[in-house]
């Protein structure tokens, strides 16, 4: 049994470590609310995205593709492709949280965003001997400042969106946000290779029905990134 003080210590530690990410969540959620409203979605639909999907990059992807009148199935597939990394997060949390009851794992899964995963994975690696209850309390702490903020920021953006005049060039909010997400991801040569292949292939296949070109480009880029990593690892081993 884990005693209460150690659980509450773990919760507050998670909250403290998750707190700085609010600085990203607030503007990002607001921008999503604005972009989705500009695309013609009503407040209920915009909130539906943020509450049911709760994954920023894929929400932006879906809204952008809908703006281009992409067939619904392609909107779903391409946006889900953006979230494939969540399966990797799930795999890396599984050794730590896999023993929890199913309903708790469902909650962990629902609240799994880049930020909660990043701080939790770091903490579990640093102190793997923590009890399951402490790890769950830490995770709950990390989610507390960020996940509800995502809903509120989206709502603010959705209500604000209609009031912003065109001079603010908010049409470009989506590209700027995407680029700002991509640049910090380019932390190794294989990542750079994947991104380059993605851009070149997406432009080359832009004649395809909207959404399809991006999907083809994504598959090619994923293979390119993985192959580049294998190649570099082998060369380093020699």
């Amino acid at each position: 049994m884990t005693d209460r003080p150690s659980l509450s210590a773990a919760y507050w530690r998670g909250l403290r470590n998750g707190l700085p990410f609010m600085l990203v969540i607030v503007p990002f959620g607001t921008l999503f609310g604005v972009a989705a409203t500009e695309a013609g979605l009503n407040v209920a639909e915009v909130m539906g995205f943020s509450i049911l999907v709760i994954a920023g990059a894929s929400q932006f992807t879906a809204v952008q593709l809908m703006n281009d009148h992409t067939p619904a199935l392609l909107v779903i597939l391409t946006s889900l492709a953006v979230n494939l990394r969540m399966a990797m997060y799930s795999a890396s949390l599984a050794p730590h949280l896999g023993a929890a009851p199913r309903w708790q794992k469902a909650l962990v899964a629902y609240f799994m965003i880049d930020q909660s995963f990043a701080v939790a994975a770091q903490d579990y690696e640093r102190a793997p001997q923590q009890s399951l209850a402490e790890k769950l309390a830490y995770y709950a702490g990390a989610c507390t400042p960020n996940c509800p903020t995502w809903y509120v920021a989206t709502l603010a953006g959705a209500l604000l969106g209609a009031a912003i005049p065109p001079e603010f060039a908010l049409d470009f909010a989506v590209p700027v946000t995407f680029l700002a997400m991509i640049a910090p991801m380019l932390r190794s040569l294989p990542h750079l290779v994947a991104a380059t292949v993605s851009v070149v292939a997406a432009l080359a296949f832009s004649f395809l029905p909207s959404g399809l070109g991006v999907l083809v480009a994504a598959v090619l880029a994923m293979v390119a990134g993985a192959r580049a990593e294998t190649f570099l690892t082998r060369r380093a081993a020699r």
Binding site: P27, E45, T61, A87, G98, K105, A169, F178, L179, M222
Partner: protein
């Protein structure tokens, strides 16, 4: 406007399908209780999913922006370049967004 193109039912189908699909991606390996670790080759592919999708999605938006009817626009190209450079330099999404907007407004004001 996407709302006119899809209709409310189709929009909610997209939201629900994306929500349910995303939940199961998140639940996947947690649900297996960690009994089967993911093979290394699969992890290698998953590592590159986000960086494989997002650049391809954004490239046409930068080169052929909607606001100008698809004609390349110097102000928006400058803003895009500044966003990427700020993101690379700071490794910080928020700093890159700020840099992008500041440069976009400066460039729109200077170049029009």
């Amino acid at each position: 406007m996407s709302a006119d193109f899809y209709g409310p039912t189709e929009i909610w189908i997209i939201i629900l399908a994306l929500g349910i699909g995303t939940f199961f991606l998140r639940y996947s390996f947690l649900g297996l209780a960690g009994r089967r670790p993911l093979p290394e080759w699969a992890l290698r592919y998953l590592r590159y999913t986000a960086v494989a999708v997002l650049p391809g999605l954004v490239a046409p938006l930068v080169l052929w922006p909607q606001a100008t009817g698809g004609a390349p626009d110097p102000a928006r190209l400058i803003a895009a370049a500044v966003t990427v450079l700020a993101g690379l330099a700071t490794r910080n999404t928020l700093a890159a967004i700020l840099g992008g907007f500041v440069s976009l407004y400066l460039a729109l004001w200077l170049v029009g």
